[in-house]
Structure formats: C-alpha cells, structure tokens
C-alpha cells in the first residue's frame, strides 16, 4: 500500500470512530429516554396488542376507559403503595433514625459514661494516687516523726543518763571526799591506839579484817596472812579493839561493814 491509501484508511477509521461515538451518544440518550418511559411504553405495547386483538372502537374506547380506570386505580394503588412505601420508608427511616439516634444516644451515653468512668477512674486514680501519696507522705512523715520521737526519746534518755552520770560524778566526789575523811579518821584513831613494844619482828604484810556496826562498834577482828610475832599480831588486834567504836562515817554511804586494815610496822 502506498502513503495515500494509508492516509485514506486512517481517515476512514477516524470517521468510523467518530460515527460510532456519535451513535453511542445518541444511543445512550435514547436509552435513557426509553428507561424513563419503560413502564408506559410496555403498557402501550400491551394496549396496542389488545387493541389489535379487539379491533372495535368501542372496545377500544371501553378499553381506553378501562385502561384509564385501571391506570387510575393503578395510580391510586401505586400512590397508596407509594404512600405506604413512603410511609414505611419514612417509618423505617424514622425508625432507623430513631435507632440511629438511640444508638447514637446510647453510644454517646456510653461514651459519656465511659468517659465519665474514665474520668472518674482517672480521678479516682488521681485521688488514690494522691491518697497513696498522701499516705506515703504521711507514712514518711510518720516514720520521720517516729524516728524523731525515738531520737528525742533516746536523747532524753541520754540526757537523763548524762544527768545521772553527772550527778553520780558529783556524788562520787562527795563520797570520795567523805570516804577519804572516813579513812583518815579510822586510820588516825587506830594509829593512835597502835602501841608496839620495842624490837618487834613483823611482817611486811599483815591485814586485819574488821566487822563493824554503823555505830562504829567493832564486832569482830580477824587477822590474815600474819606470821609475825605474837606480840605484833596482838598489838594490831588490840589497836583495832581499842579503837572501838570507830569514827562514825561522815556519809552513811561510805560506811562499810567490813574494813580491811593493812598494817605495816615500823622499819
């Protein structure tokens, strides 16, 4: 084929396509029209068919009337049906709407409730948290305060003890003074009464255990660890007995029922 024929063919195709498109558009339009009057078209067809069958005018008239009537009836019926339908639909619609509404409401409610619940929960949580926190805080505070209390208590006790100790120290010094005085008194009393004849052999260590009453009255004298002369030992015993009653303790607390006298003779 040559270029011309080729061009002719293309143009032909183009024309055909355009024609087809035009036909299609027209067709579509016709179809749409047809669809609109489909029912009436069918009735017409039916009527034509009947008319064809009866072939009388009257019949036709009558038929027309009948058709009209029928049409009216049908219209009426259709209208009623439509109404019914409409009503039903409306009802349905309303119902649906109501349902919807209801549903929505319920949902909203639900939502609201949920939200509320959530909110409440949150709040409760918050509250709980807060309470917990408070509790914790309180607990901590409690603990702290408890610790503090304990500490205070201990401090008080320590102070008490310190006071006691201090008092005791003061008392001790008083007592040791009293004791020193007491010891000195007893010592000088016994030394005044200790009479040793000359040239006495004696031990370096010679102890007398003396029992006395608070009045100073001596109740017993026992000599321990003495291996010196009889005279020496007797001189100790005599010195002690001669000192009875011993000086009274300047403080009753320094009084001792038992005295240990350590005698050390002259060298």
């Amino acid at each position: 084929m040559n270029n011309n024929s080729k061009k002719k063919f293309i143009v032909t195709i183009k024309v055909i396509i355009v024609h087809i498109i035009l036909i299609l558009i027209l067709d579509l339009n016709a179809i749409s029209n047809l669809k609109k009057n489909k029912n009436s078209f069918n009735e017409i067809n039916n009527a034509q068919f009947l008319n064809l069958k009866s072939i009388s005018q009257e019949d036709i008239e009558e038929y027309r009337k009948l058709i009209k009537k029928k049409k009216a009836e049908e219209k009426k019926k259709r209208k009623i049906e439509a109404d019914k339908k409409k009503k039903a639909e409306e009802k349905k619609k309303r119902k649906i709407e109501a349902d919807k509404k209801k549903k929505r409401k319920i949902e909203a409610d639900k939502k609201k409730k949920a939200e509320e619940k959530k909110k409440r929960k949150i709040e409760a949580d918050k509250k709980k948290k807060k309470i917990l926190e408070n509790l914790k805080k309180e607990e901590e505070m409690d603990l702290i305060s408890h610790d503090l209390l304990e500490l205070e208590k201990e401090l008080l006790e320590i102070e008490k003890y310190e006071l006691l100790v201090r008092q005791q120290i003061i008392r001790n010094s008083q007592l040791s003074d009293a004791e020193a005085k007491y010891i000195l008194n007893i010592k000088s009393r016994i030394e005044n009464n200790w009479l040793l004849p000359h040239d006495i052999k004696h031990d370096k260590i010679c102890a007398a255990i003396v029992n006395q009453l608070p009045s100073g009255k001596i109740t017993s004298v026992k000599i321990h660890g003495c291996t010196g002369d009889t005279l020496y030992v007797d001189s100790l015993i005599n010195a002690v007995w001669k000192s009875s009653p011993l000086p009274i303790a300047p403080d009753i607390e320094v009084f001792q029922e038992n005295l240990i006298l350590q005698f050390k003779g002259p060298n």
Partner: protein, 424 residues
C-alpha cells in the same frame, strides 16, 4: 546498744566509788611499853599481897615491854564484868592482872587472872598452891613468866638466874665471891669465896654448872663447879694458865684462852677426849671466846689488826673473819640465843659502852650510856642484856631491854659487883 554502753559506764562509775570493803593502811605505830595494871589482894600472915605485886611489877617493868600503871585508885572488884572492863579501859590499861591470895581449907593459894582489857577477855587464869611452893619470889617470878609469855609470846626469863662476881674490900684483904641470884638480885647465894681474884663466870648449857677463872693458884685457871653439889673441877690439869671459859652449846667443848709464848690464843678443850686444840694463831691477842649455836664456830676478840675487834672462825678449820668494823674497840662478844645478835663492849671514843650487833644486817647499836660498861650477856630470850657498869667508882649490874630504852639497876647483896652472866 548505746544504752548498754551507758549502763556499763554508769555501773563502772558507780562501782568504782563503792568498794565492798574499805581498805585502810595503818603504818604508824607508837613504840612504847604496854600499859598494864596489877592488883593483888587478900594478904595473909605468911604471904603479903604487896610483895607479890612488887615482884611481878618489878619483873614486868624491867622487861621493857610493860608500863605498870597505878592500880590503887581503880575499883577492880566490880561484879559486872562489862562495867569492870569499861573502868579498866578508862584507866588506860591494856592488860589487868588480878590476883587473889586465899585460904582454901588450910592451904593458902594464889589465884591470878590476866585480862585483856581491850578485847574484854580473860587471857590466862592460874591457881598456885603457896604452901607447896613457899618461896614467894619464885612463885611471883613464875607468875611474871606466865603473864609475859601470854602477852608477848616470848619466853619469860623472870625465873632464870644470873651469876656475878663481887669483891668485898676490907683493910686486910679482899674477898672475892661468885654469886648466883635471881635476875632481880634477890635470893643471891655466894657459891664460891676466895681471897684470890675470881673472874669470868659462865653457865653450862643446862645451867647446872658454872665455869669460872680463879687465881687461887696464882695464875688464871678455869674451874667448873656443879651448882647442886658445890663440887669443883679444874678444867685443865697441870700448871697451864687458862682464862675466859666458854661452854659449847653441845656441852662437848670448852673454849678458853691460854698463852703461847706470852701471846694469848684461843683453845678448845674436848671434854670427852680431854684434848686441847688450838684454834687461833696470830701475833695479836685472841681471847674472850663465844660459841656459835651449832658449836662449830667461835666468836672472839682479837687485836691482830691493831684495835680489838670481834672475829669469827670455825674452830676446826678455816680462817678468822673480822666481823665488827664500827668504832675503835669491840670486845667481849656474847651471842643471843637465836644466834642473830652479838652483845659486846663498844668504844667509839667516848667510853666503853654496851652495843648490840646484828650479824645479818651488820648493824651496831649502842644501848648503854655509861663510860665503863662491860661484860654484856643476853637474857635467855634475847630481849634483855645484863652488863656491869660503874657507879661512884663501884661496880653495879644493870639489866636493860635490848633497845636500851629500859635500864634497871639490879640491887645486889655484895659490893663492887662485876662480870655478870645470864643463865641459859
């Protein structure tokens, strides 16, 4: 934890101050005689209570251990013993000797009770039948002994004897006497008399004999006289001079001084073998032997180093060892019965005095104050020393406590006494 520590601390503080017992040191005593009272009552015709009291008082006072207080103003027959003790305590007595002479169905007795006034207790109580022991002095000395021993724990020496020499001087001749007497000078008996010099009496260990030096043969010779019989025996036969006898404690030996070529040396006579062993050998004078307790050692006076001093030597062997170094003169040693002390004549430039020398401590202590004191001898218990002294150019005897504090002149029959020696 803290509390516990605190409590422990507290307890510590509390307990450091409060001992279960108080400990007191007593280290200052008064050195002195023990105050004592003696009261004897119930004199009879035969026995005077005053005499008892005097003898016992004299004995105890002379011992140096007692200070006898006057009991005449003190009521001492209270029936309440506690009151009695209180009264005695007030009077200052530590001891109270209460004696009572009484007639018990014809037998006169003395009952004596020694009270410890301080302890308020009876220490001893005895009853002695006087009719059976009719020597009042003897009984009194016995009582003194009991009292002394009860209180001091030391054996009493009041019934022991002393021997001494006296010289009765007359225009024509001197009479020398050897006496034996109670320690207070009473009951003196001259056991030997001589117109010749008597010297250096010494007791046998059993106190049954006395050895002494007599110049009856115009030279010093040792005689041994038995007290009970008066029997006299010359120690060494022959015409050897011998002096300064000393009886060994075991009675086997007699140490004495004899001259060898004019130099005095110590010899030991063996009673069993009659042998005489020379103990010392020096250029100086060795004399005045005194035995050690075990009869092995001899103390003696020697001037081998110039001045007289005390030496000691084992009598069978070894070298003499000088003992005294104090002063310029130490002589005539007498050993105490415990072997620890020597009494001796000591001169440090101011006269002859009696001193006591402690062998262990090498310490010498002068205990007499005279200028011509001599011939010391210990009492058997070692607590007193008897020695001769001079008073108005006459010899006297003095008993002193071994610290020299109590000095008692012994009243004696016989004049110009010297060379006393205490029995064992």
């Amino acid at each position: 934890m803290k509390k516990i520590i605190l409590l422990i601390f507290l307890q510590f503080i509390l307990f450091t101050s409060t001992y279960a017992e108080l400990i007191i040191k007593i280290d200052n005593a008064e050195i002195g005689a023990l105050p004592m009272m003696i009261h004897v009552e119930g004199s009879s015709k035969k026995y005077s209570s005053v005499m008892f009291e005097d003898i016992v008082e004299n004995d105890l006072l002379g011992s140096g251990y007692f200070n006898i207080l006057d009991s005449s103003s003190v009521k001492n027959s209270l029936s309440n013993l506690n009151t009695q003790y209180a009264l005695w305590t007030l009077s200052g007595a530590n001891y109270f000797l209460k004696a009572n002479i009484f007639d018990e169905s014809g037998n006169e007795s003395i009952k004596f009770t020694l009270h410890n006034v301080i302890k308020k207790e009876v220490m001893v109580s005895y009853k002695i039948n006087l009719d059976k022991n009719n020597n009042i002095r003897k009984v009194s000395h016995k009582i003194s002994n009991v009292i002394f021993e009860s209180i001091t724990g030391i054996k009493g020496i009041f019934d022991t004897k002393i021997a001494y020499i006296s010289t009765d001087k007359s225009k024509e001749r001197n009479i020398y006497k050897l006496h034996v007497a109670d320690i207070d000078g009473f009951n003196s008996v001259a056991i030997y008399k001589s117109s010749k010099q008597l010297m250096s009496p010494t007791w046998s260990p059993k106190n049954d004999k006395i050895a002494y030096v007599s110049f009856e043969n115009n030279r010093p010779e040792i005689f041994i006289q038995t007290l009970a019989t008066g029997e006299r025996v010359k120690l060494i036969n022959g015409n050897l001079s011998s002096s300064a006898p000393a009886w060994a404690p075991n009675e086997k030996f007699m140490a004495y001084t004899s001259s060898v070529n004019g130099n005095l040396e110590i010899f030991v006579h063996n009673f069993l073998t009659k042998n005489n062993i020379r103990v010392t050998n020096s250029l100086g004078i060795d004399t005045e032997a005194e035995w050690g307790l075990k009869s092995k050692k001899i103390f003696f006076t020697s001037d081998r180093n110039g001045n007289p001093h005390i030496y000691s030597k084992l009598f069978k062997k070894g070298k003499a060892k000088r003992i005294t170094f104090d002063g310029t003169y130490n002589a005539d040693a007498n050993l105490s019965s415990d072997g620890k002390y020597l009494s001796l004549v000591h001169n440090n430039g101011n006269g002859h005095k009696i001193a006591i020398y402690s062998i262990k401590d090498k310490f010498l202590k002068v205990i007499s104050k005279g200028r011509l004191d001599e011939a010391p001898s210990f009492s058997p218990n070692g607590k007193m020393v008897l020695f001769a002294s001079k008073k108005l150019h006459k010899g006297i005897l003095v008993a002193t406590s071994n610290d020299g504090r109590i000095r008692k002149e012994i009243e004696l029959t016989g004049e110009d006494v010297r060379e006393p020696i205490w029995s064992h």
